[in-house]
């Protein structure tokens, strides 16, 4: 019996070695994509693979902090593309995590709307190319919230009409939302303002209706599944869920929300930068860009794609906010040394 075991074991081992060798031998070019979950149409990746005779391997993350952590742990030499949000880009540049882009290898760069080439966080697109932009808003389950008002008070005000909610596990975006509710700027450095926001969030955490911190996708899943009445969710994710279920709703509350711009970037020691540039240029193609936005229902920074965008998205204030709403939106800024204030705050909020 032992001999049989040994032989079986050896056979299994040989099989494994052969399998590994086969995969290695059959290796074509690979693009390692590290991206937010549910952010790209799988068909786009398949089309890219077919066009450039390569294989795309995706890994997913739920928050910027998670992505930066993984890059610092060795990911800068293992991924070819990452998708950071605007407010973490300056830190990533300072940490040496990103590679300066070769604009010559990205012909479709000209498709970008002009305002996206002069951003405060990366003027001239030296390290990043805008991918999609959107907001962090309030998603709600209509069946559970007959008396809904489009305000953050449904989460922050503790009345007996209070219902279960999920907060978003993103440092700047969650604190920023709390600050907006209090009427302050998302980028304030005033300690009393920050303390007020922290107190608000800690009270929200201690409430019995608090269900936990999740990424945007996790919160959306809880609202769609019925275990939460409200969640902070990225507008596109919410809209996708709404397309499948009429009982769900989304709104950018009247006090204001975070407006973010996600970008494509190449890690400093990416294994296949050339293919990465091809990918960026591919996404910037007019048709592909439109396909992307029509899939994930976020807003596109691509001027050439605008004419291919679904009319329902263009007319949807949740996806392309009206001028009035735009005034209530604010972008999170990198505060250099003062980022530390927010990190400390977030840590306190998470532990109390």
């Amino acid at each position: 019996m032992n001999k049989i075991f040994f032989n079986r074991f050896r056979a299994a081992l040989v099989a494994c070695i052969i399998a590994v060798a086969a995969t290695a031998a059959a290796a074509t070019e690979e693009l390692h994509l590290y991206i937010w979950s549910e952010y790209i149409d799988p068909q786009i990746l398949k089309n890219f693979e077919a066009k450039y005779h390569c294989k795309v391997i995706s890994d997913l993350y739920e928050s910027n902090e998670e992505m930066i952590g993984k890059l610092q742990a060795g990911g800068i030499s293992q991924y070819d593309i990452v998708i950071p949000s605007d407010f973490v880009v300056p830190s990533m540049i300072k940490l040496g995590l990103l590679k300066p882009l070769d604009h010559g290898a990205i012909p479709n760069l000209k498709n970008l709307k002009p305002e996206y080439t002069k951003s405060a966080y990366d003027y001239g697109n030296k390290y990043t190319i805008p991918y999609q932009w959107g907001t962090v808003g309030l998603m709600y389950n209509k069946k559970l919230t007959p008396d809904f008002i489009p305000s953050w008070s449904v989460i922050f005000k503790h009345t007996d009409k209070h219902r279960p909610y999920v907060l978003i596990d993103s440092e700047r975006e969650m604190i920023g939302t709390a600050l907006k509710y209090l009427g302050k700027s998302m980028n304030t450095k005033d300690k009393t303002d920050l303390k007020a926001a922290a107190d608000l969030l800690i009270a929200a955490k201690k409430d019995k209706n608090f269900l936990g911190f999740e990424g945007g996708v996790g919160g959306k899943a809880k609202v769609a599944g019925g275990s939460a009445a409200y969640a902070l969710v990225y507008n596109g994710d919410a809209y996708r869920a709404m397309a499948e279920d009429k009982n769900l709703g989304f709104v950018n509350p009247k006090e204001g929300s975070v407006r973010w711009i996600d970008n494509m970037a190449v890690p400093a020691k990416a294994p296949n930068a050339a293919l990465a540039y091809k990918f960026i240029s591919y996404i910037l193609d007019a048709q592909v860009g439109a396909r992307l936005s029509n899939f994930n229902h976020f807003a596109t920074p691509n001027a050439a794609s605008m004419k291919f965008i679904d009319k329902s998205d263009l007319n949807n204030p949740a996806v392309y906010p009206t001028a009035a709403t735009m005034k209530t939106l604010e972008t999170v800024l990198d505060l250099g040394k003062d980022n530390r204030l927010y990190s400390e705050l977030w840590k306190i909020i998470k532990t109390r």
């Binding site: 998670e66 952590g69 201690k206 911190f213 275990s227 204030l341 306190i348 109390r352």
Partner: protein
């Protein structure tokens, strides 16, 4: 036999050669453990005195900041939260262990009383959840405790929770999850002890008209004490550092020290603080182990 040679297990050999050979054999293993476990644990202590730089890396300046933060001094003054979390972790671990012990006795007696041909099957039934991955076992409770199912409906009927809410995140869910995870760790050693139980003592105790509790305390407990001790070491220490169960079933509301540590290495990217938290946990672990070790030694001495 020349001078200096001995016979060891039948082999005629010089002691030096014997030890040299022995060293060659044990050195790889010992060096591996020393290098990849003992040294890293030491480095934990060192890093816990370093600082986090602005962007999440390690800044090698010596500071007591992390120790201060551990006892509660942060940006906004003092709060007991970290200590509360530490205390809560120990308490949850202790209560879970106690529950496991109490519940393992019926389980062990049941297993021991099965007919011999069925014993293997029941053992296998006990082992299968034991070997199933912890993540799967824990997230499975998310289904059972969902709002639409009997347990949550039952609780809502008795007004313990609002109707329509799930039984998680909550302390109850965490205890259920912990208990379900660690039950086999206590049940298996206890079963081995119960198998070898000397029933004559129990029968004698009943013959002398002792009640259930007296029988248990004087006839059963002394014979199963060491098995329970083993079960405690296998349960209490890992339970204190557990983070999967509180993460899935407790949410961010009922953080235990494991969650707090995991966060420092994930989203917060504050390795020095994480190291100081781990150091605190290590100290508590060592204290627990030493405590039980000394009790075990005292018992052995008393018996001999």
């Amino acid at each position: 036999m020349t001078e200096n040679e001995i016979v060891y297990h039948g082999e005629l050999v010089k002691p030096r050669a014997l030890y040299r050979r022995g060293l060659v054999f044990i050195l790889p293993g010992l060096l591996w453990i020393a290098f990849f476990l003992a040294l890293p644990c030491l480095s934990l202590g060192i890093v816990s005195f370093a600082q986090r730089n602005d962007y999440g890396g390690i800044d090698w300046t010596f500071t007591f900041d992390n120790m201060k933060r551990l006892v509660g001094f942060d940006l906004f003054g003092w709060s007991a939260d970290n200590l509360v979390i530490l205390g809560r972790s120990v308490m949850v671990a202790a209560i879970s262990t106690f529950l496991c012990i109490v519940l393992s006795y019926p389980l062990a007696f049941f297993l021991a009383s099965r007919p011999v041909r069925n014993k293997g099957m029941w053992m296998a039934l006990l082992l299968v959840p034991f070997w199933t991955n912890l993540v799967i076992r824990t997230y499975a409770w998310l289904i059972v405790l969902a709002p639409q199912f009997p347990p949550a409906r039952f609780a809502a009927y008795f007004e313990m929770v609002d109707p329509g809410t799930a039984l998680y995140p909550s302390m109850i869910a965490v205890y259920i999850g912990m208990m379900a995870s660690f039950l086999p760790f206590v049940a298996l050693p206890l079963y081995t002890a119960v198998e070898k139980l000397d029933w004559s003592l129990v029968e004698a105790s009943f013959d002398l008209r002792a009640g259930f509790w007296r029988t248990f305390r004087y006839a059963i407990w002394p014979q199963t004490k060491s098995a329970v001790a083993l079960g405690i070491t296998l349960t209490l220490v890992p339970a204190m550092g557990m983070f999967v169960v509180p993460d899935m079933l407790g949410g961010a509301k009922y953080m235990l020290i494991g969650n707090l540590i995991q966060e420092q290495f994930g989203t917060s990217r504050d390795w020095p603080f994480g190291a100081s938290l781990s150091l605190a946990l290590m100290v508590i672990t060592l204290a627990t182990l030493l405590f039980f070790n000394s009790k075990a030694r005292a018992n052995k001495e008393r018996r001999s």
